[in-house]
């Protein structure tokens, strides 16, 4: 029986994330109005909140890729940014501003992403190479492919109108992509907690030995996680290009680190075994709000990176410490 105290304890980290968001908005508003003399409501208003969530959506999408991989036991996928960029470049060529090739573009994006995900999964799961170095190197490889493919030629093509509508436009005051994110969140939570494959993912991360003894094929499932991460990254590529209107060489790399940080800030365990996607979304919103704060204060890129690093460390200290005493 869940009384309110139990709910509070169980979702402690989610509540902390929510609290952080509210706090950052309030503090930001106070600083902007009180110290900088801006008009009230320039930082904290319904419009601003919605815009923040819209910007945070892409971080949460990459956070989904990371969460899937991390949940299987602490691996990370550092190549998703480049996979998305590659998928964006391919799909924008195929779509060429019309709707008719949309399905093919989506399939190719998923295919490319899944292919690289398969490579990652083979190297990490079967060859037992460290995921950090493998995915970082794979990112390099994809970056090289992108460079070689785009030397001298102008990246042509445009996203199809449907994609543009979904990714960039609004329905009323709510950005369409936020609606997509909410639907995705519900789907992901159902898959992770209620389907066989989701439960298997979590079990492997939670206790690999027990999972193995229970008959789960750990290597296969871990590889599936990487494939899924790559495929999702491919779709993100299409959405990215729908949002930006065109594809360029460096689309995904700004989202990689925030994606990982969103997972950590959301309280999802970096050692694996947890899959609370809603918390990851909240983590992404916290990050975006902080970025807005830094930008409003005029700190720009430097403040953003320092801030990310510090927040990541703080969250790691709070959640990830190996507190086992000895």
């Amino acid at each position: 029986m869940m009384n309110s105290k139990n709910i509070l304890l169980k979702y402690k980290k989610t509540f902390i994330a929510l609290l952080l968001i509210v706090l950052t908005f309030v503090v930001g508003e106070l600083i902007m109005v009180g110290v900088k003399g801006a008009d009230p409501g320039s930082f904290l208003s319904v419009n601003q909140v919605l815009i923040t969530i819209k910007l945070a959506t892409f971080i949460s999408l990459f956070g989904l890729c990371e969460m899937i991989v991390i949940s299987t036991g602490g691996d990370m996928d550092l190549s998703v940014g480049w996979i998305a960029t590659l998928a964006a470049i391919f799909s924008t060529r195929i779509m060429d501003g019309k709707n008719q090739n949309l399905l093919i573009a989506i399939l190719i994006a998923i295919g490319v992403g899944a292919a690289f995900g398969l490579l990652n999964g083979l190297l990490v799961s079967y060859a037992k190479l460290p995921s950090l170095v493998v995915t970082l190197a794979m990112g390099n490889i994809i970056q090289g492919l992108i460079n070689a493919y785009t030397t001298g030629i102008h990246i042509s093509g445009e996203p199809s109108p449907i994609v543009k509508k979904l990714a960039a436009k609004y329905t009323g005051i709510v950005p369409n992509i936020v609606t997509i994110l909410l639907i995705l969140c519900i789907i992901v939570i159902i898959i992770i907690y209620k389907t066989k494959i989701g439960v298997k993912l979590l079990s492997i991360g939670s206790n690999p030995n027990t999972a193995y003894l229970s008959g789960l094929n750990i290597k296969l499932i871990r590889m599936i996680a990487f494939i899924a991460s790559g495929a999702i990254a491919g779709i993100i590529g299409i959405l990215l290009v729908g949002n930006a209107g065109t594809a360029y060489k460096d689309m995904g790399s700004n989202y990689l680190m925030p994606g990982i940080v969103a997972v950590v800030v959301g309280g999802v365990s970096v050692k694996g075994g947890e899959g609370n996607y809603f918390a990851v979304i909240l983590g992404a919103i916290v990050l975006q709000t902080l970025t807005n704060l830094f930008v409003s204060l005029g700190w720009g890129d430097a403040g953003k990176w320092t801030g990310y690093g510090l927040i990541l460390i703080l969250m790691l200290i709070t959640y990830v410490r190996n507190k086992r005493s000895r």
Binding site: G74, M76, L123, A127, K128, L129, P130, L132, V133, V134, L136, A137, M138, G139, N140, I141, I142, Q143, G144, L145, N147, A148, T151, M257, I260, V264, V270, G300, D301, A302, G303, K304, W305, T306, G307, Y308, G309, L310, L312, I313, L316, I317, V320, R321, N322, R326
Partner: protein
């Protein structure tokens, strides 16, 4: 007599380092065929100059990896020290160079202690913790130099080229034509590690990297060992930063980003196991040279530079796969011996 020779040969070829050295020799042969005058003094010195940052950083990285950690922040830490120094120094005031060096020492201590504290004391996973600190260093470097700039005093060039320093004594210049500052730095780094490796700290670093808990139960303070390993690493990073300052005379915050992964690859190519406790730190120098020669070979066989990232990524994967295959084969051999 024949048996003795055969045994000696078997001893050398069975060492893990042997295959790495063979690869290095093959690459040197390949380079000498591709570039006329590869073995002239001028070209060798200019190559060592180009390879130096990676060599120094890889040695530091190897020490950290052997101690059971990883340092994903070395490139950005170097950029931070570089930017701080070039911001402080004013070309017309030689005194600022001294201040810059002091600041660099303090920064390198801060970086090393920070990383060591997070990994050794708080026991955060080294990969993520140093990934996070790398962004802190990057952010701070961007604060200091948002766009590439800065200057150095003239005598700072002793870290790069003796003959470029005004008012430098002639005998130093003649030494410099044989022993470039970069070579001296490598020798210095090797000497430092040679003495540390032989002493207690060296043994402890290998012990802690090999099995953290067992080392602790044997009475070693693993926290201190981790911290010391990271501090030694940041000492080498500082040397690389001094060299960069002398060479370029300006600082850019983004200069270190691609280096970090390469140092990990260089260490692994040099035979250091990512799991810790195994490997020869001096071989990281060989690994760094191999990695750098790969870029040179790409250039000389006229592969377009757009493919560089691609090849670099492939090489890294091949390198860690080879290392994994080797340790797997070694494990199987050990099992066979036991049975």
């Amino acid at each position: 007599m024949k048996q003795k020779l055969y045994n000696k040969l078997k001893f050398f070829t069975s060492k893990q380092e042997f295959s790495t050295i063979i690869i290095l020799l093959l690459m040197l042969v390949g380079m000498s065929l591709l570039q006329n005058g590869f073995f002239t003094r001028r070209v060798i010195v200019s190559n060592i100059n180009a390879f130096l940052p990676l060599i120094l950083l890889s040695m530091g990285q190897a020490i950290v990896i052997v101690s059971g950690g990883l340092d994903m922040s070395c490139g950005n830490a170097m950029a931070l020290m570089l930017c701080a120094m070039t911001k402080i120094m004013k070309a017309d005031s030689p005194y600022t160079g001294v201040i810059a060096i002091l600041v660099c020492i303090l920064l390198s201590l801060a970086v090393g202690l920070a990383n060591g504290f997070l990994v050794g004391y708080l026991r955060l996973p080294a990969i993520i913790a140093t990934y996070a600190t790398s962004y802190i260093w990057l952010g701070l470097a961007l604060f200091i130099t948002p766009t590439p700039g800065g200057e150095i005093v003239n005598w700072f060039k002793i870290f790069y080229d003796f003959s470029a320093v005004k008012g430098c004594a002639q005998w130093i210049k003649t030494i410099g034509s044989v022993l470039a500052p970069s070579v001296i730095m490598i020798l210095l780094a090797c000497t430092i590690w040679f003495f540390i490796g032989k002493k207690k700290l060296g043994r402890y670093i290998y012990a802690v990297g090999s099995h953290d808990d067992n080392a602790y139960y044997s009475g070693i303070s693993t926290t201190k060992v981790h911290i010391k390993a990271y501090v030694i690493n940041s000492l080498f990073i500082m040397m690389a930063a001094l060299y960069f300052a002398g060479q370029n005379g300006a600082g850019s915050a983004n200069i270190g980003e691609t280096l970090t992964l390469q140092t990990v690859a260089a260490a692994v190519v040099g035979g250091v196991a990512l799991s810790g406790g195994k490997g020869n730190v001096f071989m990281a120098i060989v690994g760094a040279i191999i990695m750098s020669l790969v870029s040179k070979i790409i250039y000389y066989i006229n592969v377009p530079s757009a493919w560089q990232s691609f090849v670099s990524g492939v090489i890294i994967i091949i390198a860690i796969s080879a290392s994994a295959i080797y340790s797997y084969a070694e494990k199987r051999n050990l099992l066979r011996e036991v049975n």
